[in-house]
Amino acid sequence: MQKAYNQFPALSAKQAKRKTLVSLTPLIDVVFILLIFFMLASSFTKWHSVEVNSSSSNAGGSLATDLPPFLVQVATDKLLLNNSEITLSSLLKQAKVKPSEQAIILQPLGDTPVQALIDILDELNAQGIAPLQLVQDPTWQASKQTKIRANMPLEVL
């Protein structure tokens, strides 16, 4: 090889370069496409979870029934403790001093969205207040439309 190079400098140099340097352009194309695919398809959302207890989950459990109820009703713009309006801070204060075996019953009022409920649940969880139970608003009825829709197989979404 060395000898050939000396004999035909220009031609041999050209050939050597062609052998060693594979064209990078197709490789870069593919890598770019892969990069764009992974950039668009991957998600970086970090999921968290909140535990949900309903009253039936500890039916027949150790919950004392002779204690007064601690019913917190949640609406989007207000909070009710045993049917009287209360602020979140005073609710947390009262919840802290309640007997530890007394469960807080959380009840969404009417059409309160899940987010409002989770916000309150979050605050109580952050203070380490337990046990918590979720109950349904007895006056709430799934609107006929929702009920029919929920029970029907979905053709169009």
Binding site: L21, F32, S42, S43, V50, S54, S57, P113, V114, I118
Partner: protein, 134 residues
């Protein structure tokens, strides 16, 4: 005449750092990002400050704003969903169920659904949330 012959080599050498970078980015997205199946409907989960990470290996039930259900990314009616879950509970009684509900869903709808799940024998339920903006 020698000038144009040298040129491609120089440009290839010049784009090498670019290729390195693109490779690094590619590897980053491949490893750090997670690919997930597309869900049958749009769900914006509620935000919470909960620190509990989602437990893997749970059955995920989707519930959208209108109260439509889906299990394993398959849209189902509520009755079909409950029969499916009853079957799962029969096979593995300690199965945990994760509900991924839309933040705008009516709270009572979610609560009544959790009651139904508990009544068919589900022992542990969790609600999926997103990290709240600090």
């Amino acid at each position: 005449m020698h000038f144009p012959e040298r040129r491609p080599d120089q440009t290839e050498e010049r784009i090498l750092p670019l290729i390195n970078l693109v490779f690094l980015l590619l590897i980053f997205f491949m490893i750090a990002g997670s690919l997930s199946a597309t869900e049958p409907f749009d769900i914006t989960p509620p935000t919470s400050s909960s620190e509990t990470a989602q437990e893997v290996e749970t059955i995920v039930v989707l519930m959208n704003k209108k109260g439509h259900f889906a299990l394993d990314n398959q849209p189902l009616s509520e009755l079909d969903l409950l029969t499916e879950i009853t079957d799962i509970i029969k096979r593995s009684p300690n199965a945990e169920i994760t509900i991924k509900a839309d933040a705008g869903l009516v709270g009572n709808h979610l609560v009544s659904f959790t009651h139904e799940l508990y009544s068919i024998g589900v022992k542990k339920l969790q609600l999926l949330t997103e990290q709240a903006q600090q």
